[in-house]
């Protein structure tokens, strides 16, 4: 049975995190999950929008949710920031009918109406809970045996708390990595912030956060870091050189999306998963477990 969701890629996945989009599409298809892109979606507002105007920020999210509701499908976001914004917007609008009414007046300009009928999910949650770890395990063709992965949760996938889930010691990312045959490493900073937009607004602080994280993962034995958010990926991967220049470190650890690792284990060719577009090549780490070969 094919599971269907309304897919909200978000701005980063259009270019900067193209490989996340490609690997999300390939991997979900292989798992009988259909991601139907929300037509004409707009930016979720990121963290920055809430710095200026809360009402407009919620309106932006509500437009995407209203379009998704027309599909009668739950929304799936691969970006932790988009996920958190749209989850909070739905929650807020559902609890505040006056606010929803006001925003619906604005949405009417685009012939839309928010009703709150579509739930908001993160892509990793869909894989872990809806598809299920047993099912993923069953479909693994090329297990990533011996690959030391640091599963990096970051922030907004867990926080603020969405329901009653464990936000202090979650295990679902480790469990997913185990299901594809990889070897998740335990490290202290798996829930620590990557710095987010501070990389722009407070470079010194953000680079120091990135250094601590990478250092902790590598010291704990990680050959590769897995993320579930484009901002985390860019901060941890693309700023490694700058961290090395700034702190005199010699960090060189690849950072892939969980969808790329799951895809590899399912037997999908690396080229189809956007592997090769990293600034820190994942090839040496993948070759060591026999998953480096094969193009598009």
């Amino acid at each position: 049975m094919t599971r269907k969701y309304a897919y909200f890629p978000g701005c980063s996945l259009e270019k900067m995190a193209r490989s996340y989009h490609e690997s999300a599409m390939e991997t979900t298809r292989a798992l009988d999950v259909e991601l139907k892109e929300i037509e004409d979606w707009n930016c979720c507002g990121a963290t920055t929008y809430f710095n200026i105007d809360e009402l407009l920020a919620y309106t932006l999210c509500a437009r995407n949710l209203a379009i998704a509701e027309q599909l009668k499908l739950d929304v799936v976001a691969p970006c932790s920031g988009c996920y958190k914004n749209m989850y909070s917007a739905r929650k807020h609008l559902t609890h505040e009918p006056d606010l929803a009414q006001h925003i619906n007046e604005a949405l009417a300009e685009d012939d839309l109406k928010f009703a709150g009928t579509s739930e908001v999910r993160h892509l990793i949650d869909v894989l872990v809970k809806d598809v299920g770890l047993e099912e993923i395990k069953r479909r693994v063709r090329r297990p990533l045996t011996g690959l030391k992965v640091a599963p990096y949760y970051g922030c907004q996938i867990l926080r603020p708390r969405k329901d009653h889930e464990d936000v202090e010691s979650p295990r679902f990312f480790e469990d997913l990595m185990t299901a594809i045959g990889a070897d998740p490493v335990e490290y202290r900073l798996k829930l620590r912030c990557c710095g987010g937009a501070l990389l722009i607004t407070n470079r010194e602080a953000a680079l120091s956060l990135v250094r601590d994280l990478l250092d902790n993962a590598v010291q704990s034995g990680a050959a590769i870091i897995a993320t579930a958010c484009p901002l985390c990926q860019v901060n941890l991967e693309c700023y490694q050189k700058q961290v090395n220049t700034e702190f005199g470190t010699n960090l060189n650890v690849p950072v892939l999306y969980f969808t790329q690792l799951v895809g590899l284990a399912l037997g999908i060719a690396p080229g189809k998963l956007g592997i090769g577009s990293e600034l820190v090549s994942a090839m040496p780490a993948l070759a060591s477990v026999g998953s480096g070969g094969g193009g598009r």
Binding site: T47, I52, A106, E109, I200, T201, N202, L209, S277
Partner: protein
């Protein structure tokens, strides 16, 4: 009719609580100054904030408005929400930081050396014009405030991304942009320049 003067001005904590009226968390007054927020904050722990979140809350309660607005604390919050999930009193501290950002932009009372306010404003203008975000335009807001070495490093990172096809060349734009703009004007009823 009574001639007694009524209290018409809110104190600072009253203003802050009003800013947070939409939040479901407990009011700032319920803080017990335990410092869990400061200890959980990766930016404060690294010594990058002028005042820790715990201290900001105590300053708000002491009605020290100007000192609070001059602090860089809230603009250096990365929105990781660790403080929020750990606060034993159920105060949404990360949301409080957002409220302070909005308040400081409204009053234009933030440190002039901060990149956050201008960056946020440009980000929003970009979304208002096209419906989606576009990295190259955003870069112009902060690149020139960087030192020369940092700017070179940033340019090298951008070039690396470009070579891997990870930098957008053309700004993206949603299709129903006119509807989108009308929707925005319904919330903020001003004519576009």
């Amino acid at each position: 009719m009574s001639t007694e003067t009524i209290e018409t001005r809110l104190d600072f904590i009253g203003e802050i609580n009003n800013l947070l009226y939409a939040s479901t968390s407990n009011p700032v007054n319920t803080c017990i100054q335990c410092g869990t927020c400061s200890g959980s904050c990766p930016v404060a722990s690294g010594g990058f904030m002028s005042h820790t979140p715990r201290r900001i809350i105590s300053m708000i309660r002491a009605n020290r408005k100007e000192e609070t607005l001059r602090a860089n604390t809230y603009w250096y919050c990365s929105s990781c929400y660790m403080c929020t999930v750990r606060c034993p009193r159920g105060i949404d501290i990360a949301e409080l930081m957002y409220a302070l950002k909005r308040y400081s932009i409204w009053k234009t009372e933030y440190g002039k050396d901060l990149i956050g306010p201008t960056f946020s404003e440009t980000f929003i203008q970009t979304i208002m014009k096209s419906g989606r975000s576009y990295e190259p335009v955003l870069a112009t807001t902060y690149l020139f405030s960087f030192g020369f070495q940092d700017m070179l490093q940033e340019a090298a990172t951008a070039t690396g991304l470009m070579l891997k096809g990870r930098m957008p060349v053309l700004p993206p734009r949603i299709k129903r942009l006119e509807n989108f703009k009308r929707m925005v004007r319904k919330i903020v009823p001003v004519e576009e320049k």
